[in-house]
Each structure stands twice: as structure tokens, then as C-alpha cells.
């Protein structure tokens, strides 16, 4: 999958947890999950679990800790998808 494809799919993963629909429309690598999307930190684990289920990947704790903005989420998902192949 390309980064752009993951970016577009990631919108659906984070959508249930964000109140900032405008920021969701303009999602880019720099978009911060908490500061920009206003996602409560208590939902960050939900996003990791949902991403694992969607892509059938396992995200280890150290990788999960890095998933704070959209770019790092795409990095981790890409890496885990590549490891699957």
C-alpha cells in the first residue's frame, strides 16, 4: 500500500474518536492526534487496536508509543505491513 492509501484509510480509523471534522478532512503527515484532531488520550489505545484489526498486523509497544501524529502512524503501519509480506 502507498502512504497516500494508508492516509485515506486512516481517516476512517480515527474518525470515531475526533470531534474536529475539519482537521480530519485536511489530514496530513504533520497532523497531531491530540493537539490537532482533539482526540482524547484515553482513545489512543482504541486507535492502535483498530489499526491492528484493520490491517491484520501486530503493533508492538515501542512502535505504538510513537503513534502520536498521522505521519508516524503511517510509518508504523507501513513497516508492519511490509513485515507481513
Amino acid at each position: 500500500m502507498t502512504r497516500e492509501e494508508i492516509l485515506n484509510e486512516l481517516k476512517g480509523v480515527v474518525a470515531p474518536y475526533t470531534a474536529n471534522k475539519e482537521a480530519l478532512k485536511n489530514l496530513n503527515d504533520q497532523t497531531d492526534l491530540i493537539a490537532d484532531l482533539k482526540i482524547n488520550s484515553a482513545n489512543l489505545v482504541d486507535i492502535i487496536i483498530d489499526a491492528e484489526a484493520k490491517y491484520e498486523i501486530e503493533i508492538d509497544y515501542d512502535s505504538a508509543d510513537k503513534m502520536l501524529n498521522v505521519g508516524s502512524c503511517i510509518d508504523v503501519i507501513s513497516e508492519k505491513l511490509n513485515q507481513k509480506q
Binding site: N20, K38, N40, S41, A42, D46, I48, E52, Y61, L68
Partner: protein
Amino acid sequence: MTSTGNDIVALTAISVARTKQPNFYLRIISSVEEELYYSDLQDQLPFEHFVWLAWSVKESIFKCLKRFDPALIFSPSKMRIVELKGTADQFHGTIKFGDQLLYSQSVINNDFIFSIVNDTPDFSETYWDIKKIEFADPTSQSDAVRQFLLERLGQLFPDSDLRITKNVYGWPLVVDRYDELPIPVSFTHHDHFVAYSFQLSDSLWKVHQHHAGVL
């Protein structure tokens, strides 16, 4: 400690079913902490409350320590609750993070779990409060928690002209006219609940009152 950290979890906004799934809760607590629950705590609180209590304690530690280390990453698996004691609605914890020992106080009811942390078990200079608000959108939460804190600080410093700003790392600062006060503050909000904590030593309060001509 010249820092503070707090966190609130609205229990009405979490999924009990999901919290009980191992692939979810093992990202917040370790298997050792899970054993601690089943050996010492299962008669006192439901498992899902233990998980979110652990979350609120660990998030509080992160907020508290990030003030000294802006590059710190929140990593619940690297923090370990070594002791947690209390009654049905109040818990005191000891947490190990690297070489550091930190201490927590938590309150819990049907609506929320709220925690504060410190580097000593003495919380006599830690001020905090919790409030239920009408609207749960991010702007309302942010405005409400700042106003809530300013009301409390206004009672403690009645002759001041206080406002809340942010530093370059996004941490809240208390400013009196043009001077930053050495009062570390921490905000938290989740769903319809907002809360603050701040650290205020007796000596600082007296100095400020003296300068203001109150003492």
C-alpha cells in the same frame, strides 16, 4: 517537586467490553499489575476500573515528568504500579518509572476516575478540583477548565490579575500581570468532566501575600 500532573477518565465514555479485552488492557497494565489486581484489589473495584485507574495514574506521571523532559514519550508499559491501597472510592499508589518512585492519589465514583501524582507521599501542597460541565466539545472543555482554575487561584491571590498562557512546549503557565508565577499547573478533561491540579508551597503563598501587602 516543582511539577504536577493529573488525569481524569469519564467512566461513562469508556467501553467496558473493550477494556476487558487483553489486547486492549495489556497496553495499559502489565501482567504483573494484572496479578496485583487479582491478589489485592478485586474485592474493592471492578477490573475495568483498575485498568483506567492505572491509565490515569500513568498519564498523570507523564504530564508531571514531561515538564522536565519535553522529549518524554508516554509509555504506560514502562511504568509499573508496585502498590495500590485504598477504600472503594480513594486509592493511594506507588509507581516505579525507571529509577524513580512516584506516588499517586486517586478518587473514583460511578462517573469518573481522577488521579494526581507527586514525588513524595505528601500531597499537602497539591491543590486540585473536579467539575462537571454542560458541553463536552474541546473548546468548551478548554475554556471551562481554565476558568475553573482561575477562580480557585483568584481566591488564593485576591489582589492579582491572573491569566493562563502556554510555554513553547504547550504547558500551561500562570501569569500575574507580566510575571510568570512559579506554580506548576496541569489540566485534564474527558467528556463532561474537567479538572486541574497545581502545586503551591506555603512559603511561596506567604511571599506573594507579603508582596501584595496582605500579610
